[in-house]
């Protein structure tokens, strides 16, 4: 399956990646060849084969409903790029 530049632009928006026009071209080419590699999968019949998402087919373990950690705000806020009054700052969000 070959991707057009427009496809790459659409994917880049979904993935929140700014791409330059020349990068778009490169990605369209390389991702198209990756997709043709993937298309090998379509040659195999997998009807009735259950998808495997965990190698052990394991099930979820449950955690007791307990508060196990204290307030560590200062440690977390200290490594953030922009904060004020303990809040993370981002460019104005409009609902």
């Amino acid at each position: 399956m070959a991707l057009e530049n427009a496809d790459i632009e659409k994917i880049a928006v979904l993935a929140r990646l700014q791409v330059t026009p020349s990068e778009t071209n490169d990605y369209a080419n390389s991702i198209s060849s990756i997709l043709s590699l993937m298309d090998q999968m379509q040659l195999v019949n997998t009807d009735g084969v259950e998808p495997l998402s965990n190698p052990h087919d394991a099930t979820q373990r449950l955690r007791k409903d307990e508060v196990t950690c204290d307030n560590q705000r200062e440690a977390f806020i200290a490594i953030a790029p922009a904060t004020e009054d303990g809040l993370y700052l981002v460019p104005k969000v409009i609902d």
């Binding site: 700014q18 999968m41 790029p81 981002v90």
Partner: protein
Amino acid sequence: MTHKTLVQIAKDLAAGKYSSREITQDIIADIKARDAVYNSFISLSEDLALGQADAADARIKVGNADILTGVPFAHKDLFCTQGHTTTAASKMLANFVPPYESTVGQRLLSAGAVCVGKTNMDEFAMGSSNESSFFGAVKNPWDLNAVPGGSSGGSAAAVAAGLVPAATGTDTGGSIRQPASFCNLTGIKPTYGRVSRFGIIAYASSLDQAGPMCQTAEDAAIMLNAMAGFDEQDSTSVQQETPDFTAELNLPLHGLKVGLPKEFFGPGLNPQVAECIMAAVKEIEKLGAQIIDISLPNLELSIPAYYVIAPSEASSNLSRFDGVRYGYRCDKPENLMDLYCRTRAEGFGTEVKRRIMVGTYALSEGYYDAYYVKAQRIRRLIKDDFARALSQVDVIMGPVAPTPAFDLGSNTKDPVAMYLEDIYTLSANMAGIPAMSAPAGFVNGRPVGLHIMGNYFAEAKLLNIAHQYQQVTDWHLQTPTSNNVPVSNQEKGA
């Protein structure tokens, strides 16, 4: 200190030949002096290391030492280290200092091991050559023109160069085994869920597994003893008794059934690598093993299926890098969209962005079933292949990679060519079984690793085989500077 094994250092420390502080200082000085050539470290954690060394010396003094107490090692820079930069070899996290320690790191610290620094790697563990690091490519100590393999290439180069006796690695599609093979090391990817993933920056959650990279199988067993164990903070951690991985090292191999899958010896395999592997298999046969031809019919499908599943999970796992709570943030974002798009475009490298886009595409509406779900079905076929094979044999052997280490820059233009290099390693991650690489010879001065795969939770068996093999061979004792192996092709580069 160079090329002392972990066991040797542990013995020396116990005997009081030197203190942990002394060897830690020596190792850090050695890295500072020699690593400029290999670029195997991203950062050194000298102050933290000396503190850990002093604590270890105190433990040794009062007779409260573990085998790893005071022994220096290095972490792949994917393991979060509390109070020390953890970059994932990305500009995105170049200044990220986690206020927490990974479970594996915590376990090693509790054992008294001393972390001297963080090793280079492919950015976010995405690569097979260690050329995608923001901090520059790593060179293979065996041949400076060759890649060390990836993604745990820095860990491999650091141990191979004799800078540290052991290092941690992670293996999502071969990232411990392939660099171990390229650098003449013993490295093991445990069963999925054996080692906690908590605090290790995720690439592909259902495939990632951490393990040790060492010079010998015995060292690897000792490291794995410290690293493995159930962790209630990781839902995918397996609630299984963790055995003493050194306990079975000395068992004889009589009656061991070794399967050789014909798909591992197809036309893509370099004939000289094949020779090395067959010689190693012969050696193991001499130790009493029985060699049986088997088949893993869906092996080839592991490449497309892996390169759907891993990027899909990665595209989601890497969404958290948005410039809001930690890590890189673009300069003067105009609005929210600009903050996201520019932070991520500037913070991630080309291969990471490519995989994020592949994964985003594979999960998107209209393609999800054809790519992601299909890949998961194939994943089950691969698991079933192994189940069938491992009902006939105890372990499976073959090459780790189709070739020895390739030249730096030779595959960087064509991602698909790079992906094909992973043909022999991906399937163990897809099935979640343990697999390891052990030194098995050289081709033109570049090392070749023997791939040993086993059933779930059979790490002790794999290490036992590698250890027995290492009792009758000396490949693992070769070092890039030892006289009996040519440090080849030096005229070509460096």
